[in-house]
Symmetry: C2
Subunit: 415 residues, 2 copies
Amino acid sequence: MTPLEEQGKAAKLAARSLACAGTGAKNAALNAIAQALRNHTGEILTANSRDLAAAAEGGMSESMQDRLRLTPERIAAMAEGVEQVAALPDPVGAAVSETVRPNGLRISRRRVPLGVIGMIYEARPNVTVDAAALCLKAGNAVILRGGREAFRSNQALTEIMRRAIAATGLDENAVSLVQDTSRDSARELMHLTAYLDVLIPRGGRGLIRAVAASATVPVIRTGEGVCHTYVDDSADLAMACDIAYNAKCSRPSVCNAMECLLVHRGVAGRFLPMVKARLDEKAVELRGDERVQEILGSCVVPAAEEDWDTEYGDYILAVKVVDSLDEAIDFCNAHGTGHSEAIVTDSYARAQRFLNEVDAAAVYVNASTRFTDGGEFGLGAEIGISTQKLHARGPMGLGELTSTKFVVCGNGQVR
Amino acid sequence: MTPLEEQGKAAKLAARSLACAGTGAKNAALNAIAQALRNHTGEILTANSRDLAAAAEGGMSESMQDRLRLTPERIAAMAEGVEQVAALPDPVGAAVSETVRPNGLRISRRRVPLGVIGMIYEARPNVTVDAAALCLKAGNAVILRGGREAFRSNQALTEIMRRAIAATGLDENAVSLVQDTSRDSARELMHLTAYLDVLIPRGGRGLIRAVAASATVPVIRTGEGVCHTYVDDSADLAMACDIAYNAKCSRPSVCNAMECLLVHRGVAGRFLPMVKARLDEKAVELRGDERVQEILGSCVVPAAEEDWDTEYGDYILAVKVVDSLDEAIDFCNAHGTGHSEAIVTDSYARAQRFLNEVDAAAVYVNASTRFTDGGEFGLGAEIGISTQKLHARGPMGLGELTSTKFVVCGNGQVR
């Protein structure tokens, strides 16, 4: 057995006991984790400072270093996040449905944990704690495979969590970190079908596509967001302006931010100057098609073909004038990543058509795509935003970290 | 574009219109299909007889030829099956949940079709019609890739269905058959991520494992069944005998049939001779461990290690004496395929432990595993039985052929 297979086997054993652990036991472990993170802040900061020193030496960009950096405040926020997860309702055990068949069999479909979840992620060490807390609350064991740059931080965090879990009487192998951060270990994890029930990659487009393309363990794709806002010719243009500004500028680096604005030709002449004035506040670069260039002039960068498929994650916006609702819907379906798509309109019929015909995890009328988020949707915390249709779609809360099981009670029935 | 990419593109377009088709339109298409199958029985039988002639020439076994064979009765049964699907409730459109957030956003999670479903299956042409009907009812387009041996039958069936669909005004590309039955086409289908939302393999273990191992399109694994029945020392032995006989003998070739009988040592001396007498009626071959051999004598074939992991699909049964409930649970979890597992017991506590701790799609107390079936579970028809935990687990009905979508209605909300 390889070290990773050993780790998988231990996680599978832990998952079995965790599946039968009560809500009280799981919450006690979570609260112990939160307390331990606070108590061991110094230890975590020391490990993190080593990661940061290596990163600075290796020439990591300042913004990446900021993602990697932990502070007493950030650690306190992580601990608080764990306590919030403890306070959420336990999804495990509830009957999704129950029926008694004509032959007397009582068939109940119950929510059960998924089992062992693998997480592959990049530089942010807070994912280590967030993911562990959510997986544990839903009764799953988790195998964490964080980025090389954050290894010392992740190791300190994981060790603290494991000790806290063991101290409350649960199996510490409920949470474990892959010790080898080479590409080989990621590849092995993607094929660990004997022990892993699902693999969730969290990070950039490159990581997620690579995992989806080569994993044989079932994968949930998360977080790729090329989101559109379509301003219809019946839209309240002041509202459209607020929504577009918010969707682009409130936090451009996240996956639910708008990357492309579509404007109906009937209002393009009025709306584009309005929205440009607003986006100028943040010096947003506009990349437009010919009609946008005609209206706004030389301040618009001519859009290249690839602009329609790019997740900028920055103060850059692709802009296009469309002739009709149909063109807008087709464009969203052709260039969107199935994340979040919005229409601004006062037409009931067009709103309905957009909501029905655009194929995405979240479709909006008259609101900013920035709301696609587990907290904003009322799911509590989230482990990611699924952009696939299988198993989970959109923000994934605790419920999405479970499966179901048919429990059949009889008194001698045969067929 | 390859022919399969063209087919995928057409299916994706059809899926979009189908997603917006009403229940009435879909039912009309299904009823037209049923009528067309009846009207064109002769055409179907002619195509099937060519497949059968080629199969006989190629030396196909008699039992495989029987799976391939269509008769007027079988075609009538297929048509009736399609009408039954038409009569089932439409899963699309229903709100799974709906909430109004403090900021006034109304967020509804609605059931929507998956999109385009790929089916890879083997020799039975009835799968062509069953799968098409279920996919269509749930608003999905389907690309069918049946076995080479049944190609002419599948082509006749598909053409008849496509004409019937078109005649009712829906897009005939809702159902299409892959025209190339080489391994290359299966491989291409497994990687058609631009057009396929999910791939469902139906057939033998080899097919399913091969698809799961190499597909990059999300796969739902179905139908592998190494199912156990555990007879506890508190069991009503007459009931246990009936259940074991039924689970093994009522239809040994199906995936919910029992392959391995576990007996508590406390009742093995009494129970094994009883159940053997019953299984002798069907001349079931017993492959037992040492303790079983001691009790039943030389009529028992000594079980080899691989017997504990074999899906016989035949009148053969692996039998083992265990020392405890714990050993039985561990054995089911180690050797089962996560399909269906049963305990026969009169102990409330042990029944609860078995139901909670055995990790399978369906767990039973005091009933035969043969009930794991969409019809028996009250789901209507089924497209297969999932043995994975992601998306769907156990018998998959129309609901499992859908995804969800968050529909968010606002009046200008920004974040």
